[in-house]
């Protein structure tokens, strides 16, 4: 039953993309109360792009979970929490009102705290507690930022706030609000130095939960809200842009340096999540059209290949019962589909042509060079090389090498898990096609244009009220 819901959500999000292309930005006011007094839901290019990403990956992970969660009791609790978290994430994406965004952010966050503790083993509970306390502190910073914004602009509607900032210009409070939001949303997005919860919270829960936490939650709650508030509401300045780029580059490098030394498969993947989100924030922080295109495309790619990697690690754990790289070996002969999917995903994340990761990293590096930031481009290339090194290590230790005695009895994973992994691998293979002209104009370009539009987001407040 849960899978039909996710399939329906995915179909609706595809419809949303087509609607935005044909009709421009759509606004819906809840309960008929006209903005700025009422709450609105806004569907523009960036929202449609993020909705399609989130729902596609969530649907495939739900397909995977049909077989994987057989090992756990109370499957209905998993599906309830999963759908609640998905509802929260979709709400964050659609909301046009800043406090409504906070409420949905909290719904998704609390559901994810409960999901991290799902298996109720020792490590999961400890990781869930740490994640919950840090996440709550991050949400409190976001709430203080919202309080300051409300008392400065006396409205909660984001488009109205954009108009207000356009007329009055930034005041003294804007710098403090920007810092509070970077702290709060940066903690949700796991930017360095707010990343400390991620290496504990992502490896511990069962594999589909790790995949959705790392593949979608940090992007929907963290990066999307950062972009929306900084580009569309407050208005980005060169100083803010360089802060975002610096944090992005720091995340990229620190994430990958910490990842190489890991011997736990999922902990290594979790550190790589920090690094790849650094790429996305670096691309978006550049502010040029090419940079934003690269950042958003890398966001989509990372959802796909990181989810695929976590699902692969779950398959290895399902079959062998361990996550330690030193204990597994030579599994390729016994689990060929998992092995090839992992190979495709590793080549994607390392940026090897012609997989999708290559195109998005190339665009980010070219955009950095074109903007004259040679230092950042150099760090991006270095991080890419180290990513390749660490995934070569993973492939060698898990799949190639000598097959040990105790693994002689492992078999390939059940059907639905294979289906989900194969579907994600095919998207990895053909992801570069998103850059071809026709599809680019339909899917990625509207998102880039919304971000570049900046505070003109406020202009859509009074038109197209359904």
């Amino acid at each position: 039953m849960g899978n039909f819901t996710t399939l329906a959500l995915f179909c609706f999000s595809m419809l949303a993309v087509r609607a935005v292309n044909s009709q421009g930005t759509l606004v819906y006011s809840l309960g008929g109360w006209r903005p700025p007094a009422g709450i609105t839901m806004v569907l523009d290019g960036l929202t449609a792009f993020m909705l399609a990403t989130v729902n596609l990956v969530a649907f495939l992970i739900a397909v995977y979970a049909v077989d994987y969660m057989e090992k756990f009791t109370s499957k209905w609790k998993f599906y309830s929490l999963y759908l609640l978290m998905l509802a929260g994430m979709n709400g964050v994406l659609i909301s046009g009102d800043i406090f409504n965004l906070f409420v949905f952010l909290e719904i998704a966050s609390v559901a994810s705290y409960a999901l991290v503790a799902f298996g109720t083993e020792r490590h999961e509970l400890e990781a869930a507690f740490k994640y919950a306390v840090m996440g709550t502190v991050g949400s409190l910073f976001i709430l203080i930022g919202i309080v300051f914004l409300y008392s400065f602009s006396s409205t909660l509607n984001m488009a109205d706030m954009a108009n207000f900032f356009g007329e009055k210009g930034p005041g003294n409070v804007t710098i403090m609000v920007s810092v509070l939001f970077i702290m709060g949303f940066g903690l949700k997005a796991a930017l360095v130095p707010f990343h400390a919860w991620l290496p504990d919270a992502h490896p511990s829960p069962p594999a589909p939960i790790s995949a959705i936490l790392s593949g979608i939650l940090i992007k929907s709650l963290g990066v999307y809200t950062l972009v929306r508030i900084f580009y569309n509401v407050i208005g980005v300045t060169p100083k803010l842009s360089s802060v975002l780029m610096f944090l992005g580059a720091l995340s990229m490098v620190i994430g990958v340096f910490l990842a190489i030394g890991q011997w736990d498969f999922k902990r290594l993947l979790a550190y790589h999540s920090i690094s790849q989100i650094g790429y996305v924030v670096l691309g978006i922080g550049l502010g040029t059209p090419l940079g934003i295109l690269g950042g958003l495309f890398h966001l989509f790619n990372h959802s796909v290949f990181k989810s695929l990697l976590f699902l692969n690690s779950g398959a290895v754990e399902y079959a062998t019962g361990t996550r330690d790289l030193r204990k597994t070996g030579g599994l390729f002969q016994k689990m060929p589909l998992t092995g090839s999917a992992n190979l495709i995903a590793s080549m994607s994340i390392a940026g090897i042509p012609p997989f999708n990761g290559f195109w998005s990293k190339l665009i980010i590096i070219i955009a950095a060079v074109q903007a004259g930031r040679y230092g950042y481009a150099g760090w991006a290339v270095l991080a890419s090389i180290l990513t390749l090194a660490s995934f070569t290590k993973v492939m060698k230790y898990v799949y190639y090498g000598k097959l040990e005695e105790k693994w002689n009895k492992v078999k390939e994973v059940p059907f639905f898990m294979k289906l989900a992994m194969a579907a994600l691998a095919i998207i990895c293979l053909f992801g570069g096609a998103l850059l071809i002209g026709q599809i680019n104009r339909a899917f990625l370009q509207p998102a880039v244009e919304v971000i570049l539009n900046g505070r003109n987001y406020g202009a859509m407040l009074f038109k197209r009220i359904l």
Binding site: F99, V103, E106, V110, Y113, A114, A117, T120, E121, R122, H123, L125, E126, A127, A128, F129, A132, V133, T136, V137, L140, L143, I144, V147, Y150, S151, L156, P199, D200, S204, Q262, R267
Partner: protein, 112 residues
């Protein structure tokens, strides 16, 4: 002005509890104190000097009411805080069953 600074002091008290206390229950109390501080700050920004309560009554004038919108928002924020606190306490109970202690220096198996 003093009231807002006192809210900040309360928030810092809560933050100190979260950062420096060793008992899980005291950390949860620190989270609760911080949430109280933020909600209090939110309501205080809505106060207008010599304003009256924002309730319509026949024959009354509309001028000089305190701002009612943050009061509604703070109700929502209190409920969100309640949900988070309930989850944290449930997690603390389960941690006690598994680890046998509430001391966070002994619940440090995930490292590196």
């Amino acid at each position: 002005m003093m009231v807002y600074l006192l809210c900040l002091v309360l928030f810092c008290c809560g933050l100190y509890c979260i950062l420096r206390k060793r008992n899980i229950i005291k950390i949860i109390v620190g989270v609760i104190i911080s949430e109280y501080a933020v909600n209090l700050f939110f309501i205080l920004t809505a106060y207008r000097i010599k304003g009256r309560s924002p309730i319509f009554s026949t024959g009354g004038d509309i001028s000089n009411m305190v701002d009612p919108l943050p009061q509604a928002l703070v109700l929502t924020a209190i409920v969100i805080g309640l949900a988070t606190t309930a989850l944290l306490v449930a997690l603390a109970m389960r941690i006690y069953e598994k680890y046998g202690t509430f001391d966070i220096t002994k619940i440090r198996e995930l490292r590196g």
